[in-house]
């Protein structure tokens, strides 16, 4: 149990020249990216996006994540609005060679997980030194 208090992370809106055709805000999802020997894992918070609305694209070294919010904000009289509902978009340039065929992605409780296995050539190799 951590006793650290959780703060609200204000959603950052994406600034682009090209506007979206849908009139909804586009946010930059907060991510965690970590690397182990064999793979690169990316976690992104995209609440309100169902698994079927996630698009992941790897073009050259450019990884693009897109998430489309399931529904617009619901009707009724708004009494309090602390967050806006919208889509998510973020791009990364990968420095390492990735084995494209083995990329796996899953979405659970609004958190996207993308596992990018490194290509054979990019894996660290231990070099044994033989005694002469």
């Amino acid at each position: 149990m951590t006793d650290k208090d959780l703060q609200v992370q204000e959603k950052k809106e994406l600034q682009t020249e090209a506007e979206n055709t849908r009139d909804v805000p586009v946010f930059i999802p907060p991510v965690d990216i970590y690397e182990s020997d064999g793979e690169l894992t990316l976690l992104a918070d995209m609440p309100g996006v169902p698994p079927e609305n996630v698009e992941i694209d790897l073009n050259n070294n450019q990884l693009t994540i897109k998430g489309v919010a399931a529904k617009p904000e619901n009707g009724g009289r708004a009494l309090l609005r602390e967050y806006a509902v919208g889509d998510y978009y973020r791009q990364f340039t990968l420095s390492e060679a990735i084995d494209r065929g083995k990329i796996a992605a899953s979405m659970k409780d609004g958190v996207l997980r993308v596992v990018l296995p490194k290509a054979e050539a990019a894996r660290p190799r231990k070099i044994d030194v033989k005694a002469a």
Partner: protein, 152 residues
């Protein structure tokens, strides 16, 4: 000699920023009360961020809480106060190096005053795609009543 009084600078620059943020928030709240228009977003700074809407019979509360397991969530209603309490646990990763760490974990405890008394027996809670939705039916005496006029 003319003297110019400055606002409280005791806490230095960050304190001043904080003070302006608070002032902005107060002003927005004031205008929201005056005009009835709810501003774009107005964060209370307490996790989770919530949206509250109301229609004829229900009060709806939605909260964004990605990656929180429903079993780590405790929701209660006492009188007109709704309390959301829980913890967001981020998985511990071993033998890996972080490139980015922007997601946050920790405990939260938020209390909100509802606009009406609600029927606590009939509250429905769903959790889907990281969004919690609570539908709180207004209590009998708070729900609008339709009065039909009979022709005499």
């Amino acid at each position: 000699m003319a003297r110019i009084r400055y606002p409280n600078f005791t806490y230095g620059f960050p304190g001043m920023i904080h003070e302006f943020t608070r002032m902005r928030r107060d002003m927005e709240r004031l205008f929201a009360d005056l005009t009835g228009v709810v501003p774009d977003t107005l964060s209370s700074g307490v996790f989770p961020a919530i949206n509250v809407t109301e229609d004829g019979d229900d009060v709806r509360v939605e909260a964004e809480m990605p990656g929180i397991h429903p079993e780590n969530l405790d929701i209660s209603v006492t009188g007109k106060t709704l309390t959301l309490r829980g913890e967001r646990k981020l998985e511990e990763v071993e033998n890996a190096g972080y490139h980015r760490r922007e997601r946050r974990g920790g405990c939260f405890h938020k209390a909100v005053t509802l606009p009406h008394e609600v029927n606590t027996e009939k509250i429905a809670a769903t959790f889907k795609d990281g969004v919690l939705t609570l539908v709180l039916p207004k209590a009998e005496h708070a729900a609008p009543k339709r009065i039909t006029v009979k022709a005499a």
